[in-house]
């Protein structure tokens, strides 16, 4: 092809066939296309944010304001955050704070433990050609496809045999199992830690574990933060496992606790459960704040990291 006709077709197709506006060199849309796309994006954003807005607005309302027939998406005349907060933290002997503490304990211990195991195993699979590696890795990939909830009832039955149900370990132990985390670490470690670097460390007389801690770990940091975030979120958000394992409400994580309040309030109907609804709504709002803060502060790490498994 000669250059001149190519350039003209390029210009004409740009002008004729791209109503959204042409693009600049780096693929970004020019001003003309920006406006409609931004409007679409804004509309989508509203959809994703409406439930949060509802929660923020309605946790300010007293029971009277909630059921008073005012607008559902705007504040009532009296803004009751402080009163609702004090109710939330004192209801049932301050059990809500205990639930938040339990959630944090399960998420941190389970999340850190699962991440540590995943980092070690993923690195081992990526960097050592040990006997049985291919078979174990194939089994691991199969395990990624096993639905975790299918394991909950059998695990409960097993734990019941040894008296572990209704303890914190009944929630923490199963959280340690994260086959997908191992897979992610394997994919990342394979490319991020060059074999030559490890060989160089060996020549310098560094032991395998010292090389792991001083050479590999710093290189794996983005993947470690990602797996940690994913495990902490999975654990903080878990509902089915603690619901099955725990019957002592002092051990509940916040998800099971709020579920319990919700079913109590529903059973008593709108009349009897009225005072409970305002603390359920505020309790929901408070329970989502820690993870939102974690995501906002750590965005530098997870934004790239979440895609590890998807990029080849």
């Amino acid at each position: 092809m000669s250059t001149t006709p190519v350039e003209t077709t390029d210009l004409t197709t740009r002008a004729l066939t791209t109503p959204g506006g042409g693009t600049t060199r780096d693929g970004a849309v020019r001003l003309r296309g920006r406006i409609p796309l931004s409007i679409v994006l804004a509309a989508l954003m509203v959809y994703f944010l409406v439930p949060f807005w509802w929660l923020i607005v309605n946790s300010s309302k007293s029971s009277a304001g909630l059921f008073g027939g005012g607008s559902a998406l705007w504040f009532a005349e009296d803004v009751n955050y402080l009163e609702n907060l004090s109710q939330l933290f004192t209801y049932g002997g301050g059990i809500y704070l205990r639930w938040i503490g339990n959630s944090a304990l399960y998420a941190v211990v389970g999340g850190v433990g699962a991440t540590a195991l995943a980092v070690l195993a993923g690195y081992g699979f990526a960097k050592y050609r040990f006997a049985g590696r291919r078979v174990s890795f194939a089994i691991l990939l199969g395990a990624v496809m096993v639905p975790t909830t299918a394991l909950v009832i059998p695990t409960f039955m097993l734990f019941a045999q040894v008296g572990w149900t209704n303890t914190i370990w009944a929630v923490i132990f199963p959280t340690l199992l994260n086959p997908f985390g191992v897979y992610l670490m394997h994919v990342y470690a394979r490319d991020a830690v060059p074999d030559e670097l490890l060989d160089a460390a060996r020549v310098d007389g560094s032991g395998e574990f010292r090389s792991f801690f001083t050479v590999a770990l710093p290189l794996l940091r983005p993947a470690i933060v990602t797996v940690l975030l994913l495990s902490v979120v999975a654990s903080w958000n878990n509902y089915f496992l603690p619901l099955v394992m725990l019957s002592n409400n002092q051990l509940f994580p916040v998800t099971v606790g709020i579920g319990l309040w919700q079913s109590t309030a529903s059973t008593y109907g709108a009349a009897g459960g009225q005072s409970l609804w305002s603390i359920i709504i505020l309790g929901s709002l408070v329970s989502v704040i820690p993870l939102i803060i974690a995501f906002l502060t750590l965005q530098r790490y997870w934004q790239g990291g979440l895609a590890i498994g998807a990029l080849k």
Partner: protein, 309 residues
Amino acid sequence: MTVHSDNAVARKRRRLSRSQRHNLTGWMFVGPFGVIFLALLVLPIGYALYLSLFQKSLIGGTRFVWFGNYLKAFSDPSFLSGVGFVISFSLVLIPLQMAISLAIALILDVLVTRFARFARLMIFMPYAIPTVIGALMWGFLYSKNFGPLGEFFGLFGATAPDFLSTNLIFWGLVNVVTWQWAGYYMIILFAALQGIDPTLYEAARIDGASQWQIVLRIKIPLVAPALLLILVFALIGTLQFFNEPKILQQLAAGAIPDDFTPNMYAYQQAFSLANYNYGSAISFALGAVVFVCVYIFLFATRKRGSFLS
């Protein structure tokens, strides 16, 4: 000559000891996870299979019934309707969810503004919300008491649809799950799109491709592995559907029975009816159905995907 062979011997010796060292250290790295894997995955699966082969009855006590529980499950209308629901739910939900997250990712890929960065973060936000809270929030939004739907439809003189009713609960749940996960999938797709070499677009434009052609012929084919990964996640997640319907069950009086999904049915059998053997059989059957579905799917698409290759 001698030097050379000496070197070769030394190299061989080093390689041997190195492979042994690899064996031992490799297993030391993988071992701790392996122990957890055996204790919390292999053992429960084995135990579920074992339990599921027995039946407890009032007269005969517990007796071995071979695959009796499975025969019962696969002819039990409650289990079958639950399986039917999660399959039809997946067929509607997953394409919708993927289309939405792909559309947003494609917009964000070309819209490089401060607002787009902000929107990306906001759209991702629901992922940080526990599914229990997400379902509860939408339950409130749907409800006649607290929700804005009545107000909104009232503006047009219409009555609001009741997403907590038997007829519309399907769509109510589709909406909750889409809202919860589309942002997460969008981030995965967005990162995959950002990983595409921009010179490809340049080359395509020189060849006269329009923006749409670039999207359809370059961007979407190149993020196909990411789409496949999302599809597998969504399939595994949807087939074990439990949290959202369990939470909405209270708010949607009567629209969600105890056998709504296979997992809810297993929970009811095991914990409301203390029928552990049958509950284990349902859990195992569900796990097997999910595993087989996903495996067949990955096998069918293995040429394009990268997950199992």
